[in-house]
């Protein structure tokens, strides 16, 4: 819970305040004082009566009542101090810099829990421990810099790693990014990323809130709450970019080592982000580029004018945009000719628009006006403009500033001369602009942002036979269900299963064949990996063949029967699900067989998967053309796959005991999709 006292404290005490700014308690005081905190501020330090010009008390018993405490003392002294502050000094907000809590083991974990209890007792907020602090509109409660300029429309940030927040700022500030609230939540003992999201969501104000949210996380403790508030924020017009690291085994080893967090499944995180409409980033530089793109009005289309006075960067930018699905349409006709006539000879306007090394601010103005007014086929402009170092490019950047202010179409500035145009770039940024330095990184990230879809709407799931499903589960022991029960459970969700019979004698087999009709597939029952061991025989078209094959299968070691199924024609489709701890279930789909095994061509969504998400899952498969059908070969009815995913989603909702489920395969064609083999495991 984030209290008013944390956001806008009337008074602050620094416990561990110091004159030494190489200590956290000294540096945070320095930062707060330097940045004009308007409330009362004082320190606690047994050795000082005054620190950096503010009163200092020997211990917490001596201080007046206080709204916010920033604590920078060794872990073993923290609890006692917090008791006094919470219970006696009406303190309702705590920022705990100190390390030495849950990240160090069981003992630290207990200490951390006791501290949280103290804060909860008084309905307060605890940020940290093991964090660098908080920045809000009223104070800079951090000990680590750099301290960004405060901008009410700047990026709101929350980071589970203090150092990473610092290094994000080290990269973002030179790019011209502005910031608003920053929360370094450290061990997230009480306030975690979800709480900050909830606070942003619940206090969102169309006019006053920032619409850019940046997240760095190493775990998602409460994915459902995370989804709820992230999706709500995006639906309110916010744009969220987030890094979730610790995605590999070695990476998550690092995570658990340094914050005691356990990493979730990587594909579940991606599915969660897609569901919420969050752009997933994998590096600081990517996060900073995405954030910078967020500061510019969103694209309304994917058709870009690449404008440059330098050939190469324009070519590289065009390549990366086109490679990633954006368009750089050729410009032709009268209006293009008219524009060309206003540029120096040798210029080209076919897009990229290259107005040569000698190109002027005035010419750039003509180009941007033409993009704005004359070329309907263009949705946005990217301007790459640096300097040879021979003259100032300030006039060009002022022109760019003016056009960015007035143009309906977004204009993205790439100003590559970090050294030679440092002054002009700095002037340009001082007027509130960001700057992208590498055109290819920009182009890649722009295309990612442009591909981003809004959050999937709440899933509307089909009705299933709930009572029947629960009855089956209740009757089954934990572990893998029996084949018959698997099919019954699928049927309870309305999923078609192949007509089959399980037989143990030749006589039964012949009788069943009469009922099922030929052709048949025979499968040995009781043996894992039956395909590999020759336990699956398709193409049984006669009683004679049936007898021979039945005898062969039933004689296999471990066989406890033979499954006889109608042989269907079509393509193999895989649909599955997997319990992902707090994430709920991940639902998976793909073409069966080698497409999954060799090409790892699987889409995933997070249950409950609704119609839009199911369609998106199917269409994101690389093998989607095969589902549509290519070269006259019959495909698979997409609507039936969507239907199956929704039904499975509904089943998972009713029967959360399912830990693992593989329908592998369905056999599908243009008119039917029938489950032929399936495994379900319950817990």
């Amino acid at each position: 819970m984030i209290t008013k006292e944390l956001l806008d404290p009337e008074s602050i005490v620094i416990v561990g305040a110091s004159n030494d700014t190489s200590k956290p308690g000294g540096k945070v005081l320095y930062n707060i004082l330097k940045n004009n905190f308007a409330g009362k501020i004082f320190g606690v330090n047994p050795k000082e009566r005054e620190v950096q010009g503010v009163p200092c008390f020997a211990n917490c018993n001596l201080i007046p009542e206080v709204s916010l405490a920033i604590i920078a003392i060794p872990a073993n002294q923290v609890e006692a101090v917090m008791r006094i502050l919470a219970y006696e000094k009406k303190c309702k907000a705590f920022i705990l810099f100190s390390a030495g809590f849950s990240e160090t083991g069981a003992e630290g974990k207990c200490l951390e829990k006791r501290c949280v209890k103290i804060v909860n007792d008084v309905g307060g907020t605890l940020v940290g421990p093991n964090c660098i602090g908080v920045i809000t509109g009223t104070y800079k409660g951090v000990f680590a810099g750099p301290i960004p300029a405060y901008d009410p429309k700047g990026c709101d940030c929350v980071s589970a790693s203090g150092a990473t927040m610092v290094y994000i700022l080290e990269m973002a500030i030179p790019r011209g990014l502005k910031f608003r609230d920053i929360f370094s939540v450290g061990n997230s003992a009480q306030v975690g990323v979800e709480d900050v999201l909830q606070y942003w969501d619940e206090t969102f104000d169309e006019k006053r809130s920032s619409k850019i949210k940046l997240l760095y996380m190493e775990q998602i403790t409460d994915p459902k709450r995370f989804l709820k508030h992230a999706r709500s924020l995006v639906n309110k017009g916010c744009r969220i970019a987030a890094i979730k690291s610790g995605n590999t085994e070695a990476g998550s080893r690092a995570v658990s080592s340094h914050t005691g967090a356990l990493a979730g499944s990587n594909s579940a995180v991606s599915a969660l982000f897609r569901k919420a409409g969050i752009i997933r980033c994998y590096s600081r530089v990517e996060l900073v580029y995405v954030a910078a793109i967020f500061t510019i009005p969103p694209l309304k289309g994917d058709r870009i004018a690449v404008i440059t006075h330098a050939g190469g960067p324009g070519v590289m930018l065009t390549d990366i945009l086109v490679k990633n699905g954006m368009k750089v349409p050729q410009l032709q006709g009268d209006k293009a000719a008219m524009l060309l006539s206003k540029l120096y000879p040798g210029s080209t306007v076919s897009n990229p628009i290259d107005f040569l090394a000698t190109g002027t601010a005035e010419q750039l103005g003509e180009i941007l006006d033409a993009v704005e007014n004359d070329f309907e086929e263009i949705d946005a402009a990217v301007v790459v403009f640096g300097t040879t170092g021979m003259w100032s490019v300030d006039d060009v950047y002022m022109l760019l500033h003016e056009k960015m202010r007035t143009s309906r179409k977004p204009i993205f500035p790439i100003l590559p001369s970090a050294i030679q145009a440092a002054e002009e770039v700095s002037h340009f940024q001082s007027m509130g602009h960001v700057n992208f330095t590498d055109e290819v990184s920009f182009g890649y990230v722009l295309s990612r942002v442009n591909k981003m879809k809004p959050p999937f709407p709440e899933a509307v799931l089909p009705k299933i036979q709930q009572a029947k499903a629960i009855e089956i589960i209740d009757q089954s022991p934990k572990g893998y269900l029996q084949p018959g029960q698997v099919f019954e459970l699928l049927q309870s969700a309305g999923i078609a299963t192949v007509a089959q019979a399980v037989v143990t004698s030749k006589e039964e087999a012949l009788l069943s064949a009469n009922e099922l009709g030929f052709p048949l597939v025979l499968k040995v029952s009781g043996i894992l990996h039956k395909s590999d061991s020759g336990g699956v025989v398709p193409g049984i078209t006669s009683f004679q063949l049936l007898e021979t094959v039945f005898e062969k299968l039933i004689a296999m070691p471990g066989a406890n029967g033979v499954i006889m199924q109608q042989q269907l024609t079509g393509s193999e489709i895989y649909v599955g699900a997997k319990a992902e701890d707090k994430f709920g279930h991940q639902v998976l789909c793909g073409l069966g067989g080698i497409f999954i095994e060799v090409f790892k061509d699987i889409s995933s969504g997070l249950a409950p998967v609704g119609r839009d998400e199911a369609i998106s899952m199917i269409r994101h498969l690389r093998s989607y053309p095969l589902i549509k059908g290519i070269r006259g070969k019959e495909g698979v009815n997409e609507e039936l796959i969507v239907d199956a995913i929704l039904k499975i989603s509904a089943l998972l909702q009713m029967v959360p005991e399912i830990t693992e489920m593989d329908i592998n395969p369905f056999i599908g064609n243009s008119t039917s999709l029938i489950a032929v083999d399936a495994r379900i495991c319950i817990s």
Copy 2:
């Protein structure tokens, strides 16, 4: 041809010299003077008798003999000046800044050719036109900055775009990269990228030459010469990174617009780079990161210790390394425990090694010593170390400097505090080190560099029946060969083709069936896309079926016969070739059918493809597991595919008239690989 006069001129004349450093003729003079050129220097300018303190002549007739001319006057005056300089002043080297030549059209192209002729007449060198100039150990002949510090072991560069060279430097210098020779070749009228490579190759000196070469190109004019010298340089120990842009249609439109160059096929360029052992980059930032990695001794293995005082960056770095195939091995046992005991409580050494925000230089020393001496399972270390801004990290960076100097294992520094540790980073770099600022970009690029293979050795090709092949080609009109000739040509290269007969009557069909034996495949002849229209019927197992199918096929509109083939069992394999203008032939392979059509899973090599390259092609297919055989399903004999690629390579060498060739498919299994259908087009 690159002359001594270009590299180390005794005297330089600036034609168009000026006191105004906002003009190229002023700025280049300023740069040369400022950087202490040791020879004679003077200007030509009708309005001045002295420029920037050096003598200035009214025209070229008045000047003494001179080694190198740097020309910065309008294009229409250039030819006359060059005549005087070349024919009368013994000038042997020309750097031509002026634009307005081949990039502007036919007239400019003629002018450019005449200028080249003048230079060739005197056995001289011409760099440009439309370039920013040349930097060597003796002078800085460029008008555009920034000017990098000269280092004999720094990066050698050649760029076909002056602006791109400038912007590469803008990015590289702040990273600490040092440079040696820089050639901006502009329109490459005489000296192109290939000439610079040839010069570097032919003058390579193990002790004195730089071993890092960076290239920016928009076309490869002479791929064979390019390959020859690039491969030779890499074999001599050089490491080459190159950008070739203009890879998309829109991108190559930009290329042709601004330098008049035509872009080659993108996959042919990649194949060429692989053959030469060049790392292909797609952005300036990637090129700079690769170059910076090149300054550090090469990895001898892929096992990395990630060392940091900041959790998050270590986690993200670990994730990206592991995701891209590197290893971050867990460290355990006595030596790990010993190391841990030397660090502050709460540190972890399991790798990532996190020695906390409070970690000291001394502790970093202990860690790096342990990596060097105690952990055999580690090949290199990456150190991520920034600052909170509370104290100087100079001692840490000095320690890092010392360890990088003495360690046998490579150490890569990632110093993310661009703002707060600017001074310390600058001090660190001043001792000759590079710095990587983003750990993920670094990790990605390191893994790419580590995956890089040495150049493929010269291809040794099998002998083929050359006379027969040439006879077939001589007898055939241009265009697609007749099916019979296609098979004959393949047979001349020793490629097995399926037994088949082309028949036009039922009687012939029955006779041929007797010879070929069942099962058969029948294919209609004379119709394109025969599969799609039902013109291919497999599974003919009886004379009766044969008659029925024959009649159906021969009755299809456009049918001129029926091809009868033995029906083979196995997987479809595709091998093909495509003439790529100056690149020669690109050889392609993949699994047939949907793997090519839907998954675009094709490998390519540049003819002549030798054994190593063929193996690499096959193993880089995503579908390679299917070739090896999975889940008990028979694969395809890899050696037979290699053999087929080599034979096709040999055929292409003998018959360069082949413009296109598709053997689609071969049917392959563990013992045979037989061409079943093929098309060959000749010109």
